[in-house]
């Protein structure tokens, strides 16, 4: 469903993402782990069509992200690190706007809104302005906009960051519920989250993939923390990472 091959993104001398390759099968929940600045958000932005890669390929649902961008964008639900909300709109008006720009058929929009409002627990704030909502509700509104057009692929960038423990549990169980039919790629640096929800793990550090494996294989060789620390320790010098240090 998701196939990334040798993806590289350069900003002048800085290599944000270097030769990244990984894949996710249909219905899999893939955990995308890495320290801050590792390249998780950049990779996700390339997958969702926001940024172009410098080289490499990425395919979503069989469509190439660069040459068939519109097809890919139709099939992805994306929740960026900061939910893309229009502060002056109500939850309902916002979801209606997103439903329209995602190309939903007119007669399916109202049902779609009802469905995601229920799914994300937004009934009590349906008519409230987004700027008057707490972080937890705003995050849920962001998730709702990613889900409203029923996409086969979900890209979630740190979906539980800043939420309180109860909200975190709710979002996690929601993500678990959603997979099965959907492919989910979720980035985080909260390791317990990955152990609980994800079936596959990709660890990225300094722009490179240092580990790609199924969850069931990993838990045999130690706790996820140990595996993570071992994986990111291997690539601790710029030379080892292959990043250009020439000036």
């Amino acid at each position: 469903m998701l196939e990334v091959r040798n993806l590289t993104k350069r900003y002048g001398d800085i290599v944000a993402v270097r030769d990244v390759s990984f894949s996710a099968a249909q219905g899999q929940i893939l955990g995308f782990l890495g320290p801050n600045g590792a390249g998780k958000t950049t990779t996700m932005r390339i997958l969702t069509g926001f940024l172009p890669a410098t080289s490499g390929t990425a395919k979503v649902a069989g469509f190439d992200v660069f040459t068939e961008s519109a097809e890919v964008r139709r099939r992805i639900g994306y929740l960026p690190e900061n939910p893309p909300l229009y502060a002056e709109m109500t939850t309902e008006a916002y979801l209606r706007f997103v439903a329209r720009i995602k190309g939903m058929a007119k007669d399916t929009i109202e049902d779609g809104i009802d469905r995601v409002v229920k799914l994300c627990g937004l009934e009590t704030v349906r008519g409230r302005l987004l700027k008057h909502m707490s972080k937890g509700f705003r995050q849920r509104a962001g998730l709702a906009q990613a889900l409203i057009h029923d996409p086969p692929v979900l890209v979630l960038d740190e979906p539980t960051i800043g939420l309180d423990p109860r909200q975190i549990i709710e979002i996690r169980s929601l993500v678990r519920e959603l997979a099965g039919q959907r492919t989910v790629i979720l980035s985080t640096h909260i390791l317990p989250e990955v152990s609980q929800i994800c079936e596959k793990v990709v660890i990225i550090n300094d722009g490179q993939v240092v580990l790609e494996d199924e969850m069931k294989n990993l838990t045999r060789s130690g706790s996820l923390e140990e595996i993570f620390l071992r994986a990111v320790a291997k690539v601790s010098t710029p030379e080892a990472a292959g990043v250009s240090t020439e000036r």
Binding site: R45, T48, G49, F50, L51, P52, S69, A70, R73, R74, I76, Y78, P80, N82, P83, P84, L85, Y86, A87, E88, M89, F97, V98, R100, I101, K102, G103, Q145
Partner: protein, 257 residues
């Protein structure tokens, strides 16, 4: 088309759910009303003086179009040069700041749909501003006899001018995520285009003609006089098309940078 209307609708609605629309409309009409009142008062005074002096030559020359409507339209155009940058500064710059730019560009929307939608939203709002000032000529028609063709021509000119302003405003908003930079760049660009023909008289033949051709005031001035020449309409259409084309390229560039 549906996407264009969705984006334009959202843009227009956002003006009216915040104080922006009300403050801008009130301010604009307040100024317009003040200009109108003063121009009309002065016109009345001139009429009184010259009728008392029994001067038929000057009295012949005194007409509402030249002495009230034309200066009114010119004054309104100057106010628009100041207000339109402030109205359009947030169209794309704010989206970048608030993260919704990412939403638009990761949705199955074409760049042209985004650009035209944004432009259309601001355009309708500014057109509403101009249309509301139509109440002043209406008052004149009730009490006087201005030439309707000239009035309509002048208003067409003001509408085209305002549309060109909006297009430039959307362009400058696309180039930055800082609204102040967008507003100032637009204001300076519009002012430059406004006064660019100042040295035209003392410049050479070709340079003078060139400066006059690219000057907003020259073409607007012609339409206010009541001259509807295709040359002027083509000029405004070109400015609008160029600004929107450059906006399209700027928004699209994120896909190939």
């Amino acid at each position: 088309m549906r996407n264009v209307l969705t984006i334009a609708g959202r843009e227009l609605r956002s003006y009216f759910v915040s104080p922006i629309a009300y403050v801008v409309l009130t301010g604009f009409l307040l100024l317009g009303g003040w200009f109108f009142f003063n121009l009309l008062a002065r016109f009345n005074m001139l009429l009184t003086i010259y009728s008392a002096q029994q001067n038929p030559q000057v009295l012949q020359r005194l007409n509402l179009n030249e002495f009230v409507i034309a200066p009114l339209l010119h004054n309104l155009s100057v106010v628009l040069v100041i207000l339109v940058p402030v109205i359009t500064m947030r169209t794309l710059a704010e989206e970048k700041k608030s993260g919704t730019y990412e939403l638009l560009l990761t949705s199955p929307l074409r760049v042209s749909e985004i650009v035209i939608g944004k432009f259309l939203g601001s355009f309708v709002f500014v057109l509403l501003m101009v249309a509301l000032t139509g109440v002043y000529p209406l008052v004149l028609f009730a009490y006087g006899n201005p030439e309707i063709g000239v009035v309509l021509g002048g208003y067409l000119g003001l509408s085209l001018l305002a549309t060109a302003f909006v297009a430039v405003g959307v362009l400058t908003s696309a180039l930055t995520e800082n609204q102040i930079i967008a507003a100032v760049t637009c204001l300076v660009s519009l002012l430059l285009l406004y006064i660019i023909a100042w040295p035209a008289d003392s410049a050479g033949e070709t340079i003078g003609a060139f400066l006059r051709y690219i000057s907003l005031t020259e073409h607007f001035g012609q339409m206010v006089k009541g001259v509807i020449d295709s040359k002027d309409i083509v000029y405004f259409a070109s400015v609008i098309a160029l600004a929107l084309f450059l906006t399209h390229r700027s928004v699209e560039s994120i896909r190939w940078r």
